[in-house]
């Protein structure tokens, strides 16, 4: 295309938008033309009247010329679309009912899709904000068979460093926890990066003061040094310029500050303290994500594919396999494991093959678009009903030469106005959610990686725009095509007002589908929402603010010392006047890990996706003081004794287990569960190093009441001696409120041992609030989605019913003129409505039955509500009656002579 043509189009777009040459200006020029022609003709001797007539004849039609100029000035379709847009807006205001109902449902659907998309976008596509951040990579060990990342040996790291040509500055980091202790005694638990000196070269960021970690700092025997972040420098050293050389105590070691990183620097994840990573000849480096990773930077000219090929070809050493399920590390040739190179940020997204993530992303985007289907189908029905009432308008336009495409385009633009408005509100919602989520993310210990920001990216904007277009296509185009399909055939008949539109089988099917969907899905969604919101509404059921928990661990690997420390800590805490009782558990109540159990002699009921591996349950490890602390009554059997806990540091433990009432009810409904046995299936031993063993039979020796917070779950308790669980969650019963508890705890803990860490100090009330945030968000989402679909279903049903009855008005009128009983006529109207709703309800009930049978409503967090299914049917019937009533009454009021005359 020539440059001048481009310029012409640009000016035409500009002309369409700006109206730079007004109609007045164009008319003035044409009038000038005629005047000049007239002047000339007069000069040639024509009389003034004659001259004017000849001038007009020679110049052609002025109106046509003006039209041609207007078309050339802008873009004709843009101009007409602008008109459609204005018309669409006017219709939105006029049909405010449709706008409100349809807009709400569309906003909910687009909003949910946008939030999910934005979350994906944050995790997958947030760029690494470093110089040439896209060239920073992670080198991982990938277990192809298990589809999992594995840890890396130090030897492999050394080999990669020595031999890779395509990746330079290879290093690693390991996240460790350290108590940061200042001379005034204040203690703060911080996550510290043990990092190779190469890390600072990879990031290409220099300290603002001092120097980064050098190779010499990482050699064994070197003095302990630390590089600190900007905010640590401000907070702990008041921004002193002479900070270099000052001391900072991390756990038991005193480190010398050698550098301060600039504000915002948190590489490799979200750190504010960096210490050298010491070589450990036989060591294993964590390399599976936030806990640690091997990184490097692509060499100049190298590509990710080449780097990956080189690392794959190099292979990994026949190394210490870290396969799960084994207590000891076995030497294996491990041919199934190999090296791989991935973009750095990819290393923190989970166990995915590099192609999988893109596929997953595409699939979920597609699914998110499908989320629009229910609201769109309903809006389509409403649009269709409205379109049919505008039949005369379209017929007139068609008769005047408006093409079908033109009319369909107009209806599409009208629908687009609604979906675009909904998309706008959805984006506002997304903005609100992003602010809330950002706030929440900051409160998470450690926080998200520094490159992830939850916000509205251009990809999200684009996605929302696509959603708006897709929504308009689904809700506007389909009914438009159907409604205008008969235009040509209707012709003058439509103009005369004799429309013969009928709702065919498609729409009858739609009514039935509407009702079926509402009856089938509504109860499930309501129960789910109730299950999650119940705790929030009626509270956890006990004085949760009187209980607090704190996670305690000893620096480094689990150690036998921990038992002594824990006993000493318990003794000192009990001496605190603000603390009434102390117990220890693997997890606080309500946060126990989920597992599957195989109960001897019982078969698990089959679910929709096959038979689950076992009954779902939770387990916890608790000390002998636990049940007393929470005042859980014993129902049967015995309590734990010292004999149930194994010798300190030993993995072996007794097979005695105490279960809660729910668990006992599952084992022996209404009977005695004592003496029954169960075992864990699929227990991930690696995740719970001191947890219960897989495939070992445990015997129920006692039954206790349900803890108020875990009323819905089956819980199995195992006995644990001090030191056996590490890290342990201390359970504290408080006297008075919890103000200053965290500081007091830290002081007591560091006075016992400076390498003892304490974090996650929360009251149980806080824990439940945190849980509720996520639960409530989920429940609100489900509620909003269901509510909007229901509202739409009711509106759609109403529109359809009203429409069908309205269609039969004439028939009703004629029959009434011929002497039919009003009662019979009304019955005829309702019979059809009830038939459709009845058919829909039957399908819906069938669906609900199967859903209820194969979806474990309680296991996915729902609570059964009695009578909800009939309730849903009654609700839909009510909607049908309401929808038919008005039109039926109108039909009866028709003057029979009128009805006959119009025929």
């Amino acid at each position: 295309m020539r440059l001048s043509s481009l310029r012409e189009w640009a000016r035409r777009v500009w002309g369409a938008l700006s109206r730079r040459r007004t109609d007045h200006d164009l008319q003035r020029e044409l009038a000038g033309h005629l005047a000049l022609a007239e002047d000339e003709l007069r000069q040639k001797g024509h009389a003034p009247g004659e001259a004017a007539r000849l001038a007009r004849a020679g110049a052609g039609g002025r109106i046509q010329a003006l039209e041609a100029l207007r078309d050339q000035r802008g873009l004709p379709w843009l101009d007409s679309s602008w008109l459609d847009l204005k018309l669409g807006l006017r219709l939105l205001v006029r049909n405010w009912g449709l706008t409100l109902v349809g807009g709400l449902a569309m906003t909910v659907a687009i909003g949910i899709a946008a939030v999910v998309f934005a979350a994906f976008d944050m995790v997958l596509w947030s760029p690494l904000p470093l110089d040439e951040g896209d060239r920073v990579v992670a080198i991982q060990v990938w277990d192809r068979e298990a589809g999992r990342r594995r840890d890396t040996t130090w030897q492999d790291l050394e080999r990669w460093r020595a031999s890779l040509q395509t990746v330079g500055d290879i290093g690693a980091f390991q996240a460790i926890q350290r108590n940061v202790i200042t001379p005034d005694g204040s203690v703060e638990l911080a996550t510290v990066a043990e990092i190779s000196p190469a890390g600072f070269r990879v990031a290409r960021v220099s300290p603002m003061i001092g120097r980064p970690i050098a190779d010499a700092d990482a050699s064994s025997g070197a003095a302990a040094v630390v590089v600190i972040g900007h905010d640590v420098w401000q907070r702990r050293f008041a921004g002193a310029r002479d900070v270099i050389g000052r001391e900072l105590r991390l756990g038991k070691n005193v480190h010398t500050v050698i550098g301060v990183m600039p504000d915002g620097f948190q590489f490799p994840l979200n750190f504010r303290y960096w210490v050298p990573l010491q070589p450990a000849a036989a060591g294993i480096l964590r390399n599976t994500g936030p806990e640690g990773a091997v990184f490097g930077r692509l060499a100049p000219g190298a590509t990710l594919a080449r780097a990956h090929a080189e690392v794959s070809a190099l292979g990994i050493l026949p190394a210490f396999s870290s396969a799960e399920g084994e207590g000891t590390r076995a030497l294996s040739s491990a041919p199934r494991e190999g090296g791989r190179v991935v973009p750095y940020t990819f290393a923190f997204t989970g166990d995915f093959e590099s192609g999988e993530l893109g596929l997953l992303w595409s699939l979920s985007s597609l699914l998110l678009v499908l989320l629009l289907l229910p609201p769109c189908a309903n809006i389509a029905i409403l649009n269709y009903a409205r379109t049919v009432t505008r039949q005369q308008e379209f017929a007139a336009r068609h008769a005047l030469g408006g093409s079908r495409a033109r009319i369909v385009w107009q209806l599409f633009v009208e629908a687009l106005v609604l979906t675009a408005a909904a998309a706008g509100v959805a984006l506002l919602l997304l903005r609100v959610v992003s602010v809330v989520v950002e706030g929440r993310l900051q409160n998470i210990p450690g926080g998200p990686p520094f490159w992830m920001t939850f916000g509205v990216s251009y990809r999200t904007l684009l996605f929302v725009a696509v959603l708006a277009l897709a929504g308009a296509a689904m809700s506007g185009l389909v009914p438009a095509l159907q409604a205008t399909g008969r235009l040509a055939r209707l012709g003058a008949g439509a103009l005369a007002g004799r429309t013969s539109m009928r709702l065919g089988a498609t729409w009858t099917t739609l009514v039935i589908a509407q009702v079926a969907f509402s009856v089938g899905v509504l109860p499930l969604a309501t129960q789910l929402a109730w299950g999650t919101l119940r705790t929030g509404i009626i509270g956890p059921g006990f004085a949760a603010e009187e209980f607090a928990t704190a996670r305690v661990a000893l620096e480094g690997e689990p150690s036998v010392l921990f038992g002594n420390r824990q006993r000493e800590l318990t003794r000192r805490l009990l001496a605190d006047p603000g603390i009434v009782g102390v117990a220890a558990a693997l997890r606080p109540p309500g946060e126990e890990p989920w597992v599957f159990v195989d109960i001897e002699g019982l078969t698990v009921p089959e679910l929709f996706n096959g038979r689950p591996p076992g009954f779902q349950a939770r387990f916890n490890q608790v000390d002998t003081a636990f049940f007393d602390l929470y005042q859980v009554p014993g129902i049967g059997g015995r309590q734990f004794t010292e004999g149930d806990t194994a010798a300190e540091g030993s993995v072996a433990e007794s097979g005695a287990v105490i279960v809660n009432r729910n668990f006992a009810e599952t084992i022996a409904p209404g009977g005695n569960a004592l003496g029954h046995r169960f075992r864990y299936v699929n227990a991930e031993r690696s995740e719970w190093p001191h947890g219960p063993e897989a495939d070992r039979w445990y015997e129920v020796v006692g039954v206790v009441g349900n803890l108020p917070v875990t009323t819905e779950a089956r819980v199995a308790y195992h006995a644990a001696a001090p030191g056996q669980i590490q890290p342990a969650h201390l359970q504290l019963r408080l006297r008075g409120d919890s103000t200053g508890l965290a500081e007091r705890l830290r002081e007591v803990v560091s006075s016992v041992d400076p390498t003892l860490h304490v974090d996650e100090v929360r009251t149980l009330a806080q824990i439940y609030r945190e849980h509720r945030f996520g639960d409530n968000l989920g429940a609100i989402t489900i509620g909003a989605l269901t509510g909007s679909v229901l509202l739409l279903s009711a509106a759609g049903l109403y529109a359809l019913m009203a429409f069908t009855v309205a269609q039969r008005r004439r028939e009703i009128g004629i029959r009434s003129a011929l002497g039919a009983q009003p009662g019979h006529l009304v019955a005829a109207v309702f019979r059809r409505a009830f038939l459709q709703i009845g058919a829909g309800s039957a399908v819906g009930l069938l669906a609900a039955y199967f859903v209820g049978r194969y979806v474990p409503i309680e296991q996915i967090g729902g609570l059964p509500i009695p009578g909800i299914l009939p309730g849903a049917v009654v609700f839909m019937l009510l909607v049908g009656v309401l929808a038919s009533m008005g039109p039926a009454r109108r039909g009866l009021r028709i003057d029979p002579t009128e009805a006959l005359r119009s025929e």
Partner: protein, 115 residues
């Protein structure tokens, strides 16, 4: 639009631009009526452009940046929009003229040499 003779505008689309540019290059700034009159004159009345053809054509050339326009007053004191050729217009004129000459020469040879 089936079964309809091509309009004058369509026939002229390719050549009208060239004629207008040439007129403006030769005579200097002119208003629309004068351009139309000039084309009628040189074609001995064979080419009479109505307003619906002439003015959209002028607007198109203006949008392409080949001519520019401003309001002025004619000799007999009438308000009119005066069009003048731009540098880009002169370049386009030269190029199109060359192409036109080549085409004429090809057609000439074709018609003169029936074998």
């Amino acid at each position: 639009m089936p079964n309809k003779e091509p309009s004058k505008a369509e026939v002229l689309r390719g050549t009208l631009d060239l004629m207008v540019l040439q007129t403006l290059a030769a005579l200097g700034p002119q208003h629309g009526y004068a351009i139309g009159a000039r084309l009628g004159q040189v074609s001995s009345g064979a080419l009479t452009l109505n307003m619906g053809t002439l003015y959209p054509g002028l607007m198109r050339l203006e949008q392409q940046g080949l001519i520019k326009a401003e309001w002025g007053v004619t000799d007999n004191n009438r308000q009119a929009r005066f069009y003048a050729i731009t540098t880009a217009g002169r370049r386009r004129l030269a190029a199109d003229k060359k192409a036109w000459d080549q085409m004429v020469s090809v057609m000439h040879t074709l018609f003169e040499d029936p074998a």
